[in-house]
């Protein structure tokens, strides 16, 4: 298992460096802007009031832009579920199936490594890579914060990263589970990615249209605190998100234990043929039978 963990981390080092440096640069830039935005005070509020109400409602916390938690939410945590969600979904959709589709898994699994060790070793590698990326982002907020008036402790900065991590884990493990069930990793990635973006939009739209509230409460991003976790983490929500991730992981693991390792698409499921397509394929009409 440790060999697979190390191997996964080594393969993800490019993503860790790319995402880590990219987000660090962005965060440092955002931190340096904070003193200017906070200094604008009522001027910013007056400016935002010009925007249509629906637009302000969509972004929810935009009127709190001159508070630390509002600023963190708007400029980082609000949409980081989507940005880093793309990383998590992409990485998990191909965590095992990517190698399977390339034919690499065939040789790896001919070595004395159990399916369980392979599964958990790779998943642990993904989790570690995600933690490294979030850790770099957190340090990028914490280190320069004092100079720009973002007067939060390192714990307060850390708190919103916990729900973010839980959301990334949830969408990542959903992609992993779907990759075990759907015919290709790409399909699993697209399905989960589509769900993630739809959920993000739905949460925003639910702020405008109250009729959507009952639906949105069944989606993961409804339980995402964003930058407001600075004031305190909702541990119940966090535990719920993590519990769902655990269910997805266990289902994916159970499925991986039982399925064939595919080569060239063998063993994938197909949609059942529609009746008219079946007739066309056999060349037999309904009346001639």
């Amino acid at each position: 298992m440790f060999a697979e963990f190390k191997h996964t981390l080594r393969r993800m080092r490019g993503q860790m460096i790319g995402w880590g440096i990219g987000l660090a640069l962005y965060v440092v830039l955002m931190v340096s802007f904070y003193s200017s935005v906070a200094g604008m005070g009522n001027l910013m509020e007056d400016f935002l009031k010009v925007y249509p109400e629906e637009m302000l409602a969509f972004f929810g916390s935009i009127m709190d832009l001159n508070t630390p938690q509002g600023y963190l939410d708007i400029y980082y945590f609000n949409y980081m579920t989507v940005i880093l969600g793309i990383f998590a979904v992409g990485a998990c959709a191909s965590l095992l199936v990517g190698d399977e589709e390339k034919g690499i898994l065939d040789l790896v699994m001919a070595h004395p490594v159990s399916r369980t060790a392979l599964f958990w070793g790779r998943l642990a590698g993904f989790v570690a890579a995600t933690v490294v990326i979030l850790l770099v982002s957190w340090l990028s907020w914490v280190i320069p914060a004092g100079r720009s008036g973002l007067e939060l402790t390192w714990v307060e900065f850390l708190q919103p990263f916990l729900p973010l991590f839980a959301e990334l884990l949830l969408f990542g493990t959903l992609a992993l589970l779907l990759s075990m069930v759907l015919p290709s990793g790409r399909m699993a990635g697209m399905t989960t990615g589509g769900f993630l973006i739809a959920n993000y939009l739905l949460v925003g739209l639910a702020n405008i249209n109250q009729d959507l509230k009952p639906i949105v409460q069944y989606t993961p991003l409804h339980y995402y605190q964003g930058g407001y976790a600075v004031s305190g983490v909702n541990w119940g929500w966090l535990a719920g998100l993590l519990a769902v991730s655990v269910v997805f992981v266990l289902l994916a693991w159970w499925r991986f234990q039982r399925r064939d390792i595919r080569v060239g698409g063998e063993g994938g499921w197909r949609l059942p043929s529609l009746p008219f397509r079946r007739r066309a394929a056999t060349g037999v009409s309904r009346h001639s039978v």
Binding site: A3, G103, L107, P112, D260, V263, G267
Partner: protein, 304 residues
Amino acid sequence: MSEKAALMTQGLMKSYGKIRALRGVDLEVRRGEIFGYLGPNGAGKTTTIRCLLDLIRPDGGTVRVLGIDPQADPVGVRARIGYLPGELALDSNMTVEGALRYFNALRGNKVDWDFVRQLARRLQLDLKPHIKNLSHGNKQKVGVVQALMHRPELLLLDEPTLGLDPLMQHEVYHLLREARADGATVFFSSHIISEVETLAERVAIIRQGVIVEEAEPSQLVSMAMRRVWVRFKEAVDPTPLAQVEGVTLLSTSNNIAVHLQVEGEVDSLIKALAAFPVSDFEIERPSLEEIFLAYYESSDKEES
């Protein structure tokens, strides 16, 4: 199952949807032998090997590898096996050495690295380049090295010399014979008949998911039809020759020469010829290729 069997399958069945890849494969490979698994593309060779490794789960039948059920103890089986897949795919961003060290790590870092270097030297494989920069043949060499490097008890090789030049093919044959001399069992699939004829001590021919023949290559040859040309010192009546069991008279040339077809062994014919004034005698030995093709042609005719 025999105690001496390195691997055994009984009634092995596997389907992919409506395609029945294996329809009851019965195989027994003895410990310490080189066994050739012969069949055209799509006959079920790779599916059989992947069932032995628990990469795919059979729909029915029994599998034992080195006396172990691969589904019950896959790690235990794989620890004692060296495998070379038919369509070898490696992580292209790794170096050759990096890939081999990764495989070694999966085996608990038990491999003697001097032996790895020795194998690489014999196959003229450079350990430094990235996999993505290797030719198909050099990638295949990486596959051969990783299959042999831990000195496995059983080698499962799916088309082992695919993409190798003739010199390297012969080096692989040497390596496999050496592994066998050290006590390993070699089970390899191929559709290259000359390779099977050169290397294998016993052969199984698979066709559409069923074993149609299992024997030593020489037995297969002796069981097959062969043609015999006989020239006599003087004109003779060839009728007694045509009455020998398994012999058919194809043609005569002024009763001075005859062209015969013999099914099975030629012993009876030679004894019958002792009564004739023979001046020349020639047997055309069928190649394994002809036998192999005969199996497929006869099966196709049966189907049609």
